[in-house]
């Protein structure tokens, strides 16, 4: 692949049933793989935000954005490079409780990684780590020898350094109508 870069696509949209399908269909039609995907409420009431990470040439990302914005229920879509955003991922690690007590080293791993222990039960405990991919990935590798019962990592969530201006777009609509 030529000149692929990591881009974070941010989509502000209405929260309508089926929109997720409509957006994913745009990627499918162009045979583009989604590296990571997350959706949540945004800073604006009743407006949802998708954060999608792709590895693509910039020209293709631009065209993707045009196709996404074309969708009726999409208010605005943007793409940004890593340098233009602040982004994090969360990971959860489920480990046997016995290893916490029997393997002294695991305590150092947890301490060094600045991870949090969120649940402890007689059978297992759960560690949470939020950070960059490299950090959660390092913790995963460090914990692997102790036997991971479960591991999960969230999609990237990201905010941009620059202003998004969604409220301005919505206010313009109110003014015109």
């Amino acid at each position: 692949m030529k000149n692929n870069n990591t881009y974070t696509i941010s989509i502000y949209s209405e929260n309508n049933v089926g929109l997720l399908n409509r957006i994913s269909a745009i990627f499918l039609k162009r045979h583009i793989n989604i590296e990571s995907f997350s959706t949540s409420l945004s800073e604006i009431k009743n407006v949802f935000r998708f954060v999608i990470v792709v590895e693509l040439e910039e020209e293709k990302v631009k065209k993707l954005i045009q196709q996404i914005e074309k969708q009726v229920d999409v208010i605005k879509a943007y793409y940004h490079t890593d340098e233009e955003t602040i982004f994090q991922e969360s990971a959860l690690f489920k480990v046997k409780s016995s290893s916490l007590f029997e393997e002294r080293h695991i305590q150092n791993v947890i301490k060094d990684s600045h991870a949090n222990i969120v649940v402890v039960t007689p059978e297992f405990f759960v560690i949470e780590k939020t950070g960059f991919r490299e950090e959660t990935e390092k913790l995963r590798k460090d914990l692997a020898p102790f036997g991971l019962l479960q591991f999960v990592r969230s999609g990237r969530i990201s905010v941009t350094k620059s202003k998004m201006g969604i409220s301005d777009i919505l206010n313009t609509f109110k003014k015109d109508n």
């Binding site: 089926g18 409509r22 269909a25 499918l28 039609k29 065209k63 045009q66 009726v72 208010i75 609509f173």
Partner: protein, 576 residues
């Protein structure tokens, strides 16, 4: 005919308690719909029951297959400029709409499809005739929505019509569960005037207009390619004024055909794979390419890496996603071309480009000698498709709506058919849907009943939706149906001849007695296979006031030229 018990409310916005099914009908009437195409079935029966009650206000045309309903709705939309409406039941009824929806999406045809769905309590249970039509239709609709509550019907229907017709038009599908059709609610209707997440027409940027005007005024060899955007934007007059004042030669894409009369001195013909010689060759010679309401389809551009590289490109476009999609626009001019062309007119200098236009004439002389003369004045015994089109031109005085299917006959018809009025060329351009023409012609005639509508169809595509002869007979819609029969899937055969060393894999057809079939549907029908009989046969067909079928047997292995082979440059166009 039964008199309707439920007269339409004088004020459709006044609240009254009615069923969801009746609400659907009232919404259609409030949107000015008086004609729909469809096919009943279990999950949409409540709506059909209301159609029975409202049959005086709203005509329902029963097609013989749901695909026919969509193509008829498309044909209706294309000649009337209104939104076409098609209706079907759940499951197979809904999936049968998909080809027509995909066709309408790629050709930007305003259409609203309404499907019945199983009851909401059964959704996801694999119930009888349940299919996820929302999921299936998502990639091929401008918008779609499932309704599970009767009270949602008015607002969703209003949105559907607004979205289908505004901006760049397209198909919308509304899926209504059976319980939502039965439930009653307080009905009131308000037309949709805007959606906050949707901007149908971008604002015109005066700076872009000024920049474009300067480029136009400075160009030595400017060239216009226009598409369907001119027709969809009702911008024919503004476009003609622009062409005439600027004096710039203008060529059309297949869907732009008829926006400017064929005989207009600045109309230099068609671009693209089977377009005219000059427009294709000179695309790679012009210094300014002015694209208006067209989308640089691959069948228009050929190889993009050698397409108009020497030219500055101005792109008049309503849909921002088309800018830089295939061809980089040096000067994008966003907005409806009706407004942008009207705005730019005062900024451009009156001009003539005689020397430049003479280049088109030179290429046309070559094309006439090498291609057109052979098509229209053949020395061989077999009839050519071109001769058939010329006979239709003659007897319709070049003022018919020509509906074509897909393939050789389509290319020949678009090359040779004459037009004096817009909205006269109805064809499946982007999707290339064989089987489109027969049902589309039915809709086209209903959308423009005062006009002569001639469907020109190949023997292959005709048999894909031949059952719609039943609909034409039942409705006595006076379409003229011409099948150009070469007993082959001609375009595929042509490719096999040119690029697959004449290995005619599954392209030869043993055809039925088409005249007998048409007569079986009680249509007037005739067959002609001799040159001396052609003129009289076409004259008789056009003179008929009823639906009429004419089979014209043509040369079996004729090829359509000029031709740009796939992946070749527009300037590598072949004349033989």
């Amino acid at each position: 005919m039964k008199t309707t018990e439920n007269k339409i409310s004088e004020n459709p916005t006044k609240g009254i308690k009615i069923s969801g099914a009746e609400a659907v009908i009232r919404c259609l009437l409030a949107e000015g719909v008086d004609l729909i195409y469809g096919y009943p079935g279990g999950a949409i029966m409540p709506i059909y029951d209301e159609l029975y009650k409202f049959q005086e206000e709203l005509q329902h045309v029963l097609t013989r297959h749901e695909q026919g309903a969509t193509h008829a709705a498309q044909g209706f939309a294309r000649t009337s400029g209104k939104v076409g409406v098609a209706m079907a039941t759940s499951g197979p009824g809904a999936t049968n709409l998909v080809t027509g929806i995909a066709d309408a999406q790629i050709d930007s045809t305003p259409m609203v499809c309404i499907t019945g769905q199983v009851g909401s309590h059964l959704l996801g249970s694999d119930a009888f005739q349940e299919t996820d039509i929302i999921g299936i239709s998502t990639p091929v609709t401008k918008w779609n929505c499932q309704i599970t509550k009767a009270s949602e019907i008015p607002s969703v229907m209003a949105k559907a019509f607004y979205i289908a017709r505004s901006g760049r038009p397209g198909p919308v599908l509304i899926d209504i569960t059976k319980d939502a059709q039965f439930d009653t609610f307080d009905f009131s209707y308000e037309k949709c005037t805007g959606i906050r997440s949707y901007k149908p027409v971008p604002e015109i940027d005066p700076a872009a207009i000024a920049e474009a005007a300067e480029a136009i005024n400075n160009a030595k060899k400017p060239f216009i390619i226009w598409g369907q955007g001119v027709i969809l934007g009702n911008a024919e007059q503004e476009f003609k004024d622009f062409v005439e004042k600027s004096g710039i030669p203008a060529a059309w894409t297949i869907l732009g055909l008829s926006a400017l009369p064929t005989a207009h001195p600045l109309n230099v013909g068609m671009v693209g794979m089977h377009g005219n010689y000059g427009p294709n060759m000179l695309t790679n010679e012009c210094d300014l390419l002015i694209a208006i309401g067209m989308r640089f389809d691959d069948r228009v551009t050929g190889d993009l890496s050698t397409y108009a590289k020497q030219a500055k490109v101005i792109h008049f476009e309503i849909d921002p996603s088309e800018i830089n999609k295939n061809v980089k626009a040096d000067i994008p001019v966003m907005g409806s071309c009706k407004d942008s062309l009207a705005t730019i007119l005062s900024l451009i200098r009156k001009n003539t480009h005689e020397k430049w236009i003479s280049r088109f004439d030179d290429f046309m002389k070559i094309e006439v000698e090498k291609v057109i003369d052979k098509d229209l004045n053949p020395t061989k015994e077999g009839l050519t498709m071109g001769e058939a089109i010329m006979a239709i031109n003659k007897h319709t005085k070049g003022d018919a709506v020509i509906v074509t299917d897909v393939g050789q006959h389509q290319m020949v018809a678009c090359r040779y058919a004459e037009f004096v009025r817009s909205k006269s060329n109805v064809t499946s351009g982007g999707l290339g849907t064989m089987g489109f023409a027969l049902p589309a012609a039915l809709g086209a005639k209903m959308g423009a009943p005062e006009r002569e509508v001639v469907a020109v169809i190949g023997d292959g595509g005709y048999q894909m939706t031949i059952q719609e002869l039943g609909t034409i007979f039942q409705t006595q819609t006076a379409v003229k149906i011409v099948v150009l029969n070469n007993d082959f899937l001609g375009m595929v055969r042509q490719w096999q001849q040119l690029f697959f060393e004449k290995r005619y894999a599954s392209t030869e057809m043993v055809n039925p007695n088409f005249v007998a079939i048409a007569k079986g549907y009680n249509l007037e029908a005739k067959k002609v296979d001799k040159r001396e009989d052609l003129d009289a046969a076409v004259a008789e067909m056009i003179a008929s006031e009823k639906p009429y079928f004419l089979e014209i047997c043509v040369e079996k292995e004729a090829n359509v030229f000029p031709m740009i082979p796939t992946g070749a440059s527009v300037s590598e166009i072949r004349l033989n």
